[in-house]
Amino acid sequence: MVIAESRIDGDQFIDIITYAKDYLYYRKEEVDALNVFPVPDGDTGTNMYLTLSSAVESLNGMSGISISEASEIASRGALMGARGNSGVILSQILRGIAKGFAGKEHAGPQEVGEAMDEAVITAYKSVMKPVEGTILTVLRGLRDAALDCLAFDEVTIYHMLKECLLRGNEVLEKTPDLLPVLKEAGVVDAGGQGLLYIVEGALEWYEKDHEVSREGGKVVDLQLAVPVVHGEELTNIEYPYDTQLLILGGVASIDLLKQFLEPLGDSLLVVGSGDVVRVHIHTAVPEQVIGVCRQYGSLSDVTIDNMIEQSKTALRSRVQATVPVTVEAKKTISVVSVAIGSGIKAIMKSLGTDFVMDGGITMNPSTSDVAAAVNSMGTDKVIFLPNNPNIFLAARQAKRLTGRKMYIVPSKTIPQGISALLALNLEESVEYNLKRAGKAIRSVKTAEVTFAARDGKFGKHTFRQGDIIGLIDGKVDIVGQDPEEVLKDLMAHMVTESDSLITVYYGHDVDDETASVVYEVLEKDFGSDCDIEVHFGGQPLYYYIVSVE
């Protein structure tokens, strides 16, 4: 047996946490959907994934280090990148694990048990009144299971994880009994579920590991189990060649290699440990994958499997479970849009957007986020609406990265994006749609009401931190103290005789009552010439986003 059953070292720790991160990636939306707390923390899965990603990134390129070092680096990475409540807790869990592994070269079952105990102690230390029925409760269940396992002779880490997962799931099932708000919503705790997916990922790493080790290989087989609809026929997949290879001699930048490979297929994995980098990708063009990799070093163990053939002959049932289903064969154009705020996102979805990415206002998606979103579409042609000038650059770079035909509609604001969506008719050609969208964008004026994040000056306007500012098409027009007053004044400046529709999207910080007052005021002032619509946008920071057309 090549892989040590009884203990893990730093490199294996890195492999496990990396694998678990990818495992969580495919399940983060599911975890997000478990949220009950309506306002904050509506994205538990995403936050946990981003936190874990930050931990993994900090380990990038490391190898040959002790488990003490590896867990310490991961803990720091998670701390720096902690996002949201569950992310902060996860960073504390990793901190406890690092404490437990401190000074150790490698860890056996005993050390893993101790590390989990430290994780519980550390995680509970940072809260005054721990709420039960949360990720903390699940963590304790995991620790108890691990410690119980130690009572048996010859227990392996693998069996410990298995037992932990079993018991963890039992505890998770009980979270609604401990936390009434979960029961009301009819869900289990999202953070606890996210934590269990990480354990599940670690366990799957072991299972894959053993499979390879039985065949005598040294490198971990990192095929990802992408959740799929079972029984799907594999005759119509876009990337039929399961391509795997090793690059020897060390790769300078794994990230760069990933960027080159990403457009060539999906299920991409690039995993390095020192001089050997393993590449796994599902692609339609294996020769191009090999060509790209060849530039990085000498290649070894190249395998190319045709998954369609495999699925037909059902030689390896494992493969069937790892192929993502291609979506919607008939459509030829997909639409990806960027927005923030539950109301606005819902409106965009209802107008036919296939995927609304989070972003704009505070958090802009990266080039690879955009490329990944575009690549996740089931069609070759993808129309992209950035809805914010700060996303244009990432969009243009993503266009070069993605393997799809990506068309960028230069929408600078949410109202421009919504108008463009209204103008689309995806049964027509892309060219026709781009023309229509461009025209729609030019015909709409955008007003925004927000507050000044700091003292500043824009044109002839000076404002102080906390002042309410009104913008027309991105330029400061009014500085005031009251959002509703500023909105009213903005409208007076903006609405002309040729306008016929005013649509107000009110933000997360505006209550329904205020919004209905806004409606009445606008109806009184402009109702004779214009239709007034007021929708819940749910966007943060911006009290109102208004389109006038």
């Binding site: 707390f37 720096m80 996002r83 409540n85 992310g87 960073s91 230390k125 940072s126």
Partner: protein, 123 residues
């Protein structure tokens, strides 16, 4: 000054102290918060009396329909401070607005200290 709310069956007066208690209870349940830092004389007195004072470290000001809440918190050492502070503000706002029906205009979170707890307590 207490906030008066008219209801169908009469007037309801909600004191700043009551709101501070709600805010304090919400804040202390937030992950990362290990304590509240007392600022007022009453905080000191109840501490002397050994009472649990949920409103400790919370200032509430009522101005018309708006609430202004200032929190003085102590966090555990080693948590990401801005993230925890943001969550405290979110949770306090949500809880207070939900339980009182009043609008929270502004929340200020002051991190008064960090606690380095090395004494092991078993859970």
């Amino acid at each position: 000054m207490a906030k008066e709310i008219r209801t169908d069956i009469g007037k309801l007066a909600l004191s700043e102290e009551a709101i501070a208690t709600i805010a304090g209870a919400a804040a202390t349940e937030c992950y990362g918060v290990v304590g509240m830092a007392g600022r007022k004389m009453t905080d000191g007195i109840s501490e002397l009396l050994g009472q649990e004072n949920l409103a400790k470290g919370v200032d509430v000001t009522i101005d018309g329909d708006d609430l202004y809440i200032t929190l003085y918190v102590v966090l555990g050492y080693g948590v990401k401070i801005p993230e925890v502070a943001r969550m405290v503000a979110d949770k306090v706002r949500y809880t207070v607005e939900n339980l009182t029906g009043l609008k929270v205009k502004k929340i200020t979170v002051n991190v008064e200290g960090l606690r380095l707890q090395e004494d092991v307590e078993s859970w």
